[in-house]
Each structure stands twice: as structure tokens, then as C-alpha cells.
């Protein structure tokens, strides 16, 4: 419990550092919004008055504090280009990104764990070798190319889904999830291949350790050595990887959204980057960063539960 508390504290500190960095960086490049807001009517006095009104004359840290406090209350500022509150835009799109990433995560686990265990159990066999080779190739496929291939094969040849036929979750949740079926697969495939490789090698190297010999000496069968002794140990590095993969997939969803024409956080982020719509860019990046940090924290806590050596330190 103490360990979990420590991890939550670390997460908060990191989150503070990240948001501060993002704020300062954008504060520096975004220049003076007053000039663009007033346009031709700008006089030094009016500009100064507006600056005072917007709090731009306060020290940077105070401005950061105000921004962060607003963020916590759900006020993320106003989009320059859409002229609407950023929070509304994000609340609308966040479920899309989260659903897609979670589906991809489930895909990854469903594929990686059985296949990885099978390959490790039958190390050196024909199936294991085929898995290894196929794996090596799949790992090399960029997710967006996997997306294009899936669009072509399943969308255009087998017509299992309509490319570009995205349905919003507000309209029809079932169809929404159905449409995300293939995009999430595209995100998951390369990660699943990496997870298979890691799980396989982790199990194989665990099987060589002394405690496995001890387990055999007590009369365990191969099966019970694998499931009752080795699996938990072998999962320790895999858990770290799964966590990293999950945060990678959150970011990777930005690209996959483009491939499948899904209007999620990625779409907003990209349009805002090209429009220099900084409040939106900042908000999206901070949101994704928070998601990633929460995922990392959860992984750390699970890690502590699985490995008794960690929590004691």
C-alpha cells in the first residue's frame, strides 16, 4: 500500500513537471495573443488593458497556476479556430481514443499470451519456428501500413467493413465498436508480435533457472512447472512491456485514426497543429500525457503486486 502511495506521488510530481514544461514551451512560442485578438484596432492602451484583463502581465508561474487550476475544473480555454471551449471538443473525442486503445490492448493480450506460451512450450519445434519467423516480420510492419493492408484486404476485397464508414458512439454504440474492430487490430498486431517474442524468451530463460530444477525434483509435471512456477516469474518483464505498449498504443491511435478516418483526439491534434491552435494542442497533449502516466502508474502498482521483492524496498 505504501508502495502504491509512493507511485501515485511520483506520478503527480511527473505530471506537474510535464504540464509545466508544456505550458512554458507554448507560452514562449505562442507570442502575444493580444495583437491577433485586437487586429487592426490595436492601440498600445487598449492592448495593455486587455493584457491586464487576461492576466498576461502576471508572472509566468502565476499564469501557469491559473491555467492548471482551470484545467482541473474542466476549463481548458477556448479554441482559436473553432471558437468553442476546448473541453467540449475533448470530452467529445476522448471516449473514441480510449475505446480504441483498450480494444487494441485486449487484442494484444488475447493474441500474445496464448501464442507466446505455446511457442515457449514447444521451443525448437516446427510451429515455434514458424511463429518466430512470422513474428519477426509482423514486428517490422508499421501500424499504419498494417491499417492500410487491413483496409485493402478486409474492407475492399472481403467487404467486411466500409472504409471511412465511421459511426459515432453517440449515434450507435454497437456499430461504433464494430467499426473499431479492425483499427484496433491494426494497432495491436505489431505490439502483439513483440509481446509474443518477449514472453517466449522470458519463459525459456526462466525455465533454465535453478528453482525450476527444484520444482521438478518435487515431482511436478512439465505443465505444472510452467503454470504454477514459471508463469508468474516470466510475466514480470512482460508486464513492464505491456504497460509501455499500452502508452505507445494511446499515441499510436493518433496515426491509425487517420488511416481509418476516425475523428478522435488525433484528428483534433493534427488540425490544431497545422492551424497553430495552441490551446487545443496543449490540452490534447496534456490529456494524452495524463492517460499515459496513469497507465504507467497502474503498471507499476501491478508490478509490485506480482513481484514480492519490489514492494519491500
Amino acid at each position: 500500500m505504501r508502495y502504491a502511495g509512493k507511485k501515485i506521488l511520483t506520478m503527480c510530481v511527473t505530471l506537474f513537471a510535464v504540464t509545466l514544461f508544456v505550458f512554458l514551451a507554448f507560452h514562449m512560442i505562442s507570442g502575444d495573443p493580444v495583437t491577433s485578438m485586437l487586429g487592426t484596432q490595436a492601440t498600445p492602451e487598449r492592448a495593455e488593458a486587455l493584457r491586464e484583463e487576461l492576466g498576461l502581465n502576471d508572472p509566468v508561474l502565476v499564469q501557469y497556476g491559473r491555467w492548471a487550476a482551470g484545467f482541473l475544473k474542466g476549463d481548458m480555454g477556448t479554441s482559436y479556430s473553432y471558437r468553442m471551449p476546448v473541453s467540449e471538443m475533448i470530452v467529445d473525442k476522448l471516449p473514441v481514443t480510449i475505446t480504441m486503445t483498450l480494444m487494441a490492448f485486449v487484442w494484444m493480450i488475447l493474441i500474445a499470451i496464448p501464442v507466446g506460451l505455446y511457442a515457449a512450450k514447444h521451443e525448437g519445434g516446427v510451429v515455434d519456428r514458424i511463429i518466430t519467423v512470422v513474428n519477426q516480420i509482423i514486428m517490422a510492419v508499421p501500424p499504419f501500413f498494417a491499417g492500410i493492408l487491413i483496409t485493402f484486404v478486409f474492407g475492399m476485397i472481403f467487404r467486411l467493413f466500409t472504409p471511412g464508414g465511421y459511426v459515432s458512439y453517440q449515434v450507435n454504440t454497437g456499430k461504433f465498436v464494430g467499426y473499431l474492430f479492425f483499427p484496433s487490430l491494426a494497432i495491436a498486431l505489431p505490439k502483439a508480435a513483440m509481446a509474443i517474442k518477449l514472453l517466449r524468451s522470458s519463459v525459456i530463460s526462466e525455465l533454465k533457472l535453478d528453482y525450476v530444477r527444484t520444482a521438478y525434483s518435487r515431482g511436478n509435471s512439465k505443465r505444472s512447472v510452467l503454470y504454477r512456477h514459471v508463469l508468474k516469474n516470466a510475466m514480470i518483464p512482460v508486464i513492464t512491456f505491456l504497460g509501455m505498449a499500452l502508452s505507445d498504443m494511446i499515441a499510436g491511435s493518433i496515426i491509425i485514426e487517420q488511416v481509418f478516418g476516425i475523428p478522435g483526439l488525433g484528428r483534433i491534434l493534427l488540425t490544431s497543429i497545422s492551424n497553430r491552435d495552441y490551446p487545443v494542442v496543449m490540452a490534447v497533449i496534456v490529456c494524452i500525457a495524463t492517460l499515459v502516466l496513469v497507465v504507467n502508474m497502474i503498471v507499476d502498482v501491478i508490478y509490485g503486486l506480482v513481484d514480492p521483492r519490489i514492494s519491500v524496498e
Binding site: Y211, T214, S217, R218, G219, N233, D307
Partner: protein, 266 residues
Amino acid sequence: MIRVTDLNIEFFDHERPETVVYDFDLTLHEGEIVGLVGESGSGKSMSALAIAGLLSRKDMKKRGEILFEGVNLLDCDRKTLRKFQGNEIGMIFQEPMTSLNPVKKIGWQVEEALRLHTDLSKEERKKRAIEMLQKVELHEPERVYEQYPHELSGGMRQRVMIAAAMICDPKILIADEPTTALDVTIQEQIVALLKRINQEKKTAILFISHDLSLVHQLCERVLVMKGGYVVENGSADEIFYHPKEEYTKKLIAAIPKVVRKTEKDS
């Protein structure tokens, strides 16, 4: 009780086959402690693992016979072998640090053989495990039961290993360098513990070690191995004080003697 005849083990690890144990013969009687001595690479551990049924690699070829209760452990099926492992034949290893599963509680590991070989209920198993932990002279066995290996010292871990190996009252205990990784005073305690178990339960012990003087303290009979062969075989005193083979003499000469220098000089 257990009779090993003509055991040969060959490896195919490297390009050419490599024999690591040649014509190994051994008979172990009830309640006997036999020592197996040799330097690294002599084949002593390999022979011990073979007797415990723990050599099952594909790149290995085994010949000969290991007869235990009328069954040849070398070519019986795995299921029969498993019935003996942990139940009739227990084993402890050199590194108590790595020989225990790092993510499982001590209690779980100690009672594992019971879970595999008996129909005892959970509570009975726990009772037996705690009794066993007490027998190997661990303080606060209830506490140890709930602990993880990394929370114990090396000596304590080796006691846990012994408790786990002895929980089904096996007829044979194979101890592969069980004290090498420990301090001398702890080593002495572990050796005393093994002696006591041997006397109380009439467990036969095969004690593998590189330390001839330690084997001399503990064992009645000793086999000396070199390069895969048993070079000498006899009673411990005979081998220690009147070695016949050149190699045994060399081994004994290599142990520094603690004799008063005044006597040495005169």
C-alpha cells in the same frame, strides 16, 4: 535400497559427443550417508542429477540402470518417475538463493510435495509444513511460512530447502554441495541437521561435495570421482587416511594441514 549400475551419460551439446559420466556404480542402503567427492567437471553433480531423475535434456544420452524399489528410474515413463520425485527421493542444491521460487511464499513451496503426492487437506498441509519448518530449527515457523525467499538469510533458505525436500519423508535425500555457499559456522549447523535427520528418520543421504574433509566428517562411505570416472571407493577413514589412488592422494595433499609448526620443523 537404490542400486546404480553402469551409468553412462553422454552429451551432444557441442559438435562432438562428450561423455561426462562413465560406468558409474553405486549402492545406497537404508540409513547410510555416502559422499561423492570430486573437483569441478568430475561428473559428480551429473550423476546425482541422473539419480534424482532430473536429466531429461534431449541432447543427452543415458545408459545403465538406476534401480529403486524394483523400478529402473532411467527408462521408466515420466509419470512413474514423478511419483518417486519429492516423495521417495528428495533433493537439495548448492545455491539456496536461486533454488527457491522468488515469487512464491515459503509455505507454498515447503508443502508443494504434499500437494502433489498426498490427499491432505489445506489445513493439514499447513500444519505439517509448520512442523517441518520447526524440525529444521527455524525460529517462528508461522512467520517464515508467510515470508518470501528474499527475506531469509542463506542458512535459513537452505533449511527451508531441506524442510521442503523432507516433508514427504523420502527414503533418499540427495544433497548437491548443500553447504558450499554458506559460512563455516552455518555449514556446521546444516551438516549437523543432516546428520540428525539421517539418524531420526533413517533417511539415506547421498552427499556431494568438493570438500574432502567435510565429507570425511559426515559420511561413512566415499566415492572419489575424476573426469567422469569413480577412481576410488571405500570407507571414509580408509580413503582419508590411506588413499590408494594417486589422484586421491593429490586431493588430500592439496588440503592445507593444520599441524603445529614446531612439530613440523622437528
